[in-house]
Amino acid sequence: MQDLWQIQYSYLIPLLPLLGACIAGFFGARWLKGQSHWPIWIGVGASAVISISLLFSMLGLWKVAGHEKGASAGHAAAQRSVAAEAASEEPPLAYNKIFFHWITAGDPSGTNSSKFFNADAGFLFDPLTAVMLCVVTGIGFVITVFSAGYMKGEEGYFRFFAYLGLFIFAMTCLVMGNNLVMLYLGWEGVGLCSYLLIGYYYEKPSAREAAKKAFLVNRVGDFNFGLGIMLSFLAFGTITFFSGTPQHTGLLEVAQAPLTAFQQHALRWIPFLLMFGAFGKSAQFPLHVWLPDAMEGPTPVSALIHAATMVTAGVYMIARCGTLFVGNAAAMNTIAAIGCFTALMAGTIALRQFDLKKVFAYSTVSQLGFMFVAVGCLAPVAGVFHLVTHAFFKALLFLSCGVVMHAMAGELDMRKFSGLKRVLPKTRILMLIGCAALAGFPLITSGFYSKDEIVAAAWEKSRFLAALMLFAAFLTAYYSFRLYFRVFEGPEILPSPPENAHGPGHGHGQADGHDAESAHATGHHHNHEPWIMIGPLVVLAIGAIFAGFLNFPERARSLGGFLGQSPSFAQSFNVATRPNVANGRVIPPLPFGQIAAQEELELADKDFATSQHSLHRMLMIVSGLISLLGIYFAYLMHLKDRTAAERLANDFPAVTSALEHKYWIDEIYQNGIVEPLRALGRGFFAMDRIVVDGIVWLISFVPQASGFALKLTTQRGYLQGYAVTMLFGIAVILLVVFL
């Protein structure tokens, strides 16, 4: 595998976007101006091409290797091999490409207590990386094309594209990194880019605060992630995932080998720390507050970063370090629990949001909850599959929102307009596809298949969890079509032509800063749907529909099978099936992508196979019905008579206000954490001035005071007074000397 040209030149994948970003950034202001999207298009396009070709060549390799293995699979029936043996024959599709040693510290000889820390600038290529690369660079490229149209005429046009290029660089590093510190590099890099992009309209104080909030909340997550890295280094002495050397000294491999007491203790903590880092990045419950505010940034940013790529980094990390997580049952349960809770919470909040982008923001938080549930229920394939499909339809939804905003001169509030199907016919269809995929419209949309797999995995874990997930799916269906019916169907209402055109940041909430530009749109017949914007949408729509079939037939040639080849999935399955971990339960190998094990298991006991298939069929039907129910409900409440929703809301004022105030979490954080810390800071500063400086002043005051006191008492000017004192001194001396 290492002789693939893509791998040899893999440094181009992150480097080209970075180069594009630098060119756009430094030369954009004066020379490129309007054309500064070209370097990015070329850079991201090239890396997209390399990634996709890498994916296909990997698939090619997988098919070739698959045949011999397939043949051998037949006769090696009892292949339930122990983890070490399975890991020994190198799965063909993983290769560690190290370019140079990035950080090396500690003494190499490793004597006495000091250890040897080595982080390489290296990339790891396996099916998981390939899939993620394609998602990132593919959708990234589509969005750069879209944003060229969307951002035309913006004053900081070049700055936007520079940040975009930087983001792709950071995200590709994150995905391809072969050790935790490279992952951390990408992790913080994307955090930085989201900070810069959210704060793109830096004139607006709300954008400025949102950017700062995003970066700091991410930083809290990264703090835990950092601690996780350090603890794993302390325990295992290395942070590279797979060493590629026969003796398997990679972090994930050593984690499986027999552990000392300290390592076991550490393994109890490492998953929680890494998980908390993932929650920070993927906006899960405790640290989700930054994502809704991130909608301050321009729409393509929301599409790319806050829907498709960055937020999925958390899921990717947990899938990559599966072996660390799977062994720790408590960790897996917390992930599933937090994921489910976030899904429900975000779903409910989305019901009462009237801002288009806010609805989709909460929907993203909810869908991420779904992915975490999948990963939590020992179904990483389902998680990654949903990640891929979600990337397509959520990007589609956000970009169509962008088109709507573009047309409505930056107006985003649902209540201001409706019935836009005549004005924006193409966008209406695309939005419909997107909403259907999000809702999980049965059979034709990708959302249905991926969500169904997650529900199945949840069912495996516990019936109650599956029920909650189905309810969340219902909520998703409801609020997605609530939006669709209110915006595109129903009587045609257009927002009054914007009179105060030029005030930046006018209008309620975070009206898009570039309304000044769209204000000059002459009247309504102007074509709001230029091809440069609609083209990418169509591509995404196709993806939204057909992505589902990537993993549907669930057989050897599916996405699951391909992902199964990744050492992470294979080894985490081995760890999962260990007696002490599985303690008796039969772990279905399919969600881990272990097709061979699945077929062999099905050969072994028939009824298991039949029960699995009937279960899947039943769940598919149920989730299909749920989504149809959700859509019908939305139709009832928002198309037949719009007032029904309001009436329902007024019936439960407490619930509605809770939803509208996002369960007051922001306020809790602000008053519970931020204000006390500032007060503490002020207290320290006061202490600094008073206590420490007080002591210093005292030290200087005491000699002065005593000097003055002496002056008053003894130095009275009497000549004889001095004589007496002298005499007294002589007497004392004589007394001492002679006595």
Binding site: Y718, Q720, V724, L727, F728, A731, L734, L735, F738
Partner: protein, 329 residues
């Protein structure tokens, strides 16, 4: 100064003054303490109390009398104890007389409110100590003392007292009011005398109790001699060449002075000339606000007849504002 002291002591080894062969080479007295230290301190305290009462202050006359009595008693006891225990230790009766006069004179110098009397008592003390000098065979010094001290210095003092006598307060009757305020009251007599007599007590204690045996050079051990001899050898040649042998103390002193202490003598002369020059410069300096003679209203006492009663000289209080603030003791 150190050099001065050591070289004569060494020289003495060689040039022992002839003629006092009848020197009683008494063996060094056993260092039995002549006076018990306790007694010494009690006497010191008594003397202190005496002095305090005697010092000029606003007290009535009788108290001063008691003070004088106490002081006299203390000195007498000291003398008796010393005399008894010493039993003719080479100090004749004249010594006691002169000593007594000196001490009484000294106390009166200090305690007498009138500066003129102090000066005169000082002359008395000088006479007494001259007597002591004679007892110690330093007849030239005795004479010099009387001449220089008694004659020159004390006369200057009296002269200055006359010059600087303040205007007498108008119509003062009692002796106390007549006195200038700064003469009548002494400053913290209690503390000063206490400290002074403590020092005296210590000195006496050191002299009598702690002196141990001060070995005289000739009675010294071999080590002392050899050291002296070695040093003497280096300085001796200058002396040996001349054949002059002084006769009597004064010649010896003269010889010693001009042979050994020539440099110091010249220096002494120099000091005197410098002092004289200094005195002239000081005296000639113009005093701020000095007005030609005729304008000076007579600051000194009005030309009144001075009767022989010393108290009758009127002493005027001072009109110096800062004076008033001085707290009454």
């Amino acid at each position: 100064m150190l050099g001065l002291l050591s070289s004569p002591a060494l020289a003495a080894v060689i040039v022992t003054p002839p003629g006092d062969s009848s020197l009683p080479a008494m063996t060094v007295g056993a260092p039995n303490p002549l006076i018990a230290p306790g007694l010494l301190f009690i006497l010191a305290v008594a003397a202190a109390v005496g002095i305090i009462l005697l010092l000029p202050s606003r007290r009535e006359a009788p108290l001063c009398k008691i003070g004088a009595a106490v002081l006299a008693a203390a000195v007498l006891i000291l003398a008796i104890v010393l005399g008894k225990s010493a039993a003719g230790a080479g100090v004749g009766v004249y010594f006691w007389i002169f000593a007594a006069i000196a001490v009484i004179g000294a106390t009166r110098v200090v305690t007498h409110p009138r500066p003129v009397y102090s000066a005169l008592y000082f002359v008395l003390t000088v006479m007494a100590s001259a007597g002591l000098f004679v007892l110690m065979w330093a007849e030239f010094m005795a004479a010099a003392l009387i001449l220089i001290y008694g004659g020159a210095i004390l006369v200057t003092y009296v002269f200055v007292i006359m010059l600087a006598a303040e205007a007498a307060p108008a119509g003062g009757q009692k002796m106390h009011e007549q006195l200038a305020e700064h003469d009548a009251v002494s400053r913290e007599p209690v503390i000063a005398s206490a400290v002074g007599f403590a020092l005296l007590g210590i000195l006496l204690f050191v002299i009598f109790d702690r002196s141990g045996e001060i070995r005289r050079e000739d009675a010294g051990g071999a080590a002392a001699v050899t050291a002296a001899a070695k040093v003497a050898a280096t300085t001796a040649p200058a002396v040996a060449t001349t054949g002059f042998h002084p006769v009597g103390g004064t010649q010896a002193l003269g010889d010693f002075l001009f042979r050994r202490q020539l440099v110091n003598l010249e220096l002494a002369g120099l000091i005197l000339t410098v002092a004289m020059a200094g005195a002239i410069v000081i005296a000639r300096k113009r005093v701020v606000g000095w007005r030609p003679l005729e304008e000076i209203e007579m600051v000194s006492t009005p030309a009144i007849g001075i009767d022989d009663n010393p108290h009758s000289i009127p002493v005027t209080g001072t009109d110096n504002p800062r004076q008033k603030e001085y707290p009454e003791t």
